[in-house]
Symmetry: C2
């Protein structure tokens, strides 16, 4: 950071103000040949303005913070990618922050980001019942948009979500459509709003179709492959030992793909064929879903788009415009692959046999 605007001004025999004007492409206030001369000098010298100084002067930093639980999780890395792409187009840089699902780290990051003078924040919060970070942001008047995880509170916060309840409905409604079907729902921890919503979705279906309570059993994993495996295996061994090769449910729905992969593995190991004997539907549609054998049917979440949309919304807010809508809810989609008997969304998979 050697050469400054003052150097350019001196070389061009003008004032810093004039140089600043051409640097910022202000149409008025500079004669064409003066402008040209300055531009030439800038090019020759390879001068790069110090954006820190500019930010100090203007009060905006052209950077935003993105706080997510963990970039290593493909769902979040896709989301971040979506955000970065649209942010870059709008001229913003991105501070990446991994909270590890830890509300303390999350708050630390919010503080750091405020100090850095970010113009806005995209927050995938670690906790759904705590809005103290948001108070900070509100105090400082820094725009933010929530993503993925809903924070409950008196006020409605701007955010981009996916319709998790609808996703739950989609899966349950397919899996329970055939008479006599029964469902094992491996959900995530209930302190995630996503888990609660998805569960509401499957309960909707049970209720709306007047199904017996016993037709669905809900257990809780921790979103890991291992927990999906273990929970499924537990049911296999607790089941009557004589019935090796059978399973007490006709289908499994899991709150993410990783647990579905675990369940699939447990079933295969027990000699139960998928989807012939048991159908499986996951949630997320990560790349891995297409790579297991058979490829996993799943409820897809548009992670990239969520990142992009939240960034777009934030840009609006940073530009001073109130966004058109305070929250955006994206659709989920049921993707039929190899773990459901129905293989394509095109066919009418929901029709009850015999009708």
């Amino acid at each position: 950071m050697k050469i400054t605007i003052a150097d350019i001004a001196r070389k061009a025999g003008v004032s810093k103000a004039t140089v600043s004007r051409v640097l910022n492409n202000r149409p008025e206030g500079v004669g064409p040949e003066t402008r040209q001369r300055i531009q030439d000098i800038v090019r020759e010298t390879g001068f790069q303005p110090n954006s820190l100084a500019r930010c100090l002067a203007t009060g905006k930093s052209a950077s935003v913070g993105v706080i997510i639980p963990d970039i290593v999780n493909p769902y979040y890395s896709l989301l971040v990618r979506g955000a970065e792409d649209t942010l870059k187009k709008a001229g913003y840089s991105l501070f990446l922050c991994n909270s590890d699902h830890n509300i303390v780290k999350e708050k630390e990051y919010v503080t750091v980001l405020i100090e850095k003078g970010v113009d806005g924040i995209i927050l995938d919060s670690a906790e759904s019942d705590c809005d103290c970070q948001l108070e900070l942001l509100d105090d400082e008047n820094i725009p933010y948009v929530l993503v993925d995880r809903i924070i409950e509170g008196p006020a409605k916060y701007p955010g981009v979500y996916v319709d998790n309840r609808q996703g739950g409905r989609l899966a349950a409604s397919y899996l329970l459509s055939k008479p006599g079907s029964s469902l094992l729902f491996i959900n995530g921890p209930l302190d995630y709003s996503q888990s609660r919503d998805r569960q509401n979705g499957v309960e909707d279906i049970v209720r709306e179709n007047g199904l017996a309570e016993s037709s669905v059993r809900i257990v809780y994993g921790d979103f890991s492959i291992e927990s999906g495996y273990r929970l499924t295996k537990d049911l296999l061994s607790n089941h009557h030992p004589a019935s090796f090769g059978s399973f007490p449910f006709t289908a499994i729905f899991t709150a993410n793909d990783l647990m579905a992969v675990g369940a699939l593995r447990a079933l295969k190991k027990a000699g139960i064929s998928v989807p012939e004997q048991v159908e499986i539907i996951g949630f997320d549609d990560i790349e891995l879903a297409t790579l297991v054998d058979p490829p996993l049917s799943t409820v897809s979440q548009p992670a990239f788009e969520m990142g992009a949309r939240s960034a777009g919304m934030l840009c609006q807010m940073m530009a001073g415009r109130r966004p058109r809508t305070k929250t955006i809810t994206l659709e989920t989609n049921l993707i039929f692959r190899g773990t459901t008997r129905c293989k394509e969304s095109g066919k009418n998979c929901f029709s009850v046999p015999g009708h």
Copy 2:
């Protein structure tokens, strides 16, 4: 960004300088009770110093840029995670930049980062024969460390790499250890230094053991699952059609895990059993490697550690110390899983049968 150091100073009845001293925990120069009083006021008011202003004054920004090809690739996200963790500990924030393997974008980002006043840059470069970005950095006297990809040039650049040649040797030496073995090496594009090095490694083994040239065949994919699949399939169908269920090589080595997954799939589809008929070794050790069936044996790269080490090195440089070593080369490891007949590193898998 409302309340400033001047406000605090006024409230405490001292000068800005004094407030600055306690803010920065300078031990000397402030009386204990003055210090206490100021700290109290800071706490009450929830004052957060503007780090932009601080940076302008000190000339350092406490942030570094990380440029990688694509955060969606699990290898890079792990690397970034490693960097972030150690950077955070040292008090730095991280600007994330995805270059998409595009040298133009990469240069853009280098420029942006310089303007942002980053204290340093970690660069996983998109091109191995272009060092013009580095000139920029050198001009500005901004420390940087290269990672993963070697940039050739007159000077040796500071960097953290993995011993790709050694990785190639490891795989080839196992795969070619048995008499009569032959190897299909599915490499990546040769304009990647990694590809060249890995190829050198397998060629080393051929030469050192006096094997026939024909014992290894090299083809080139693009690191995608699809290319691994296609390249393997080509060899299957070009092979004598009558010999369905056989393969012209006893083993496959691929330059990354994704292509190995593709190869595995092609083989399975052709009814060739892995590892009984053909052994496979990949490269990288991404999570997916453990999830395919059978789980993939592979040469592991310590992505997280590479990120962490490069960050550590950069911190040294940013602190003004020359790092102990200019380049760090990390070891690769051969991980035996299900696609090799040998299943554990513990056993002497390299012994020639009959000895």
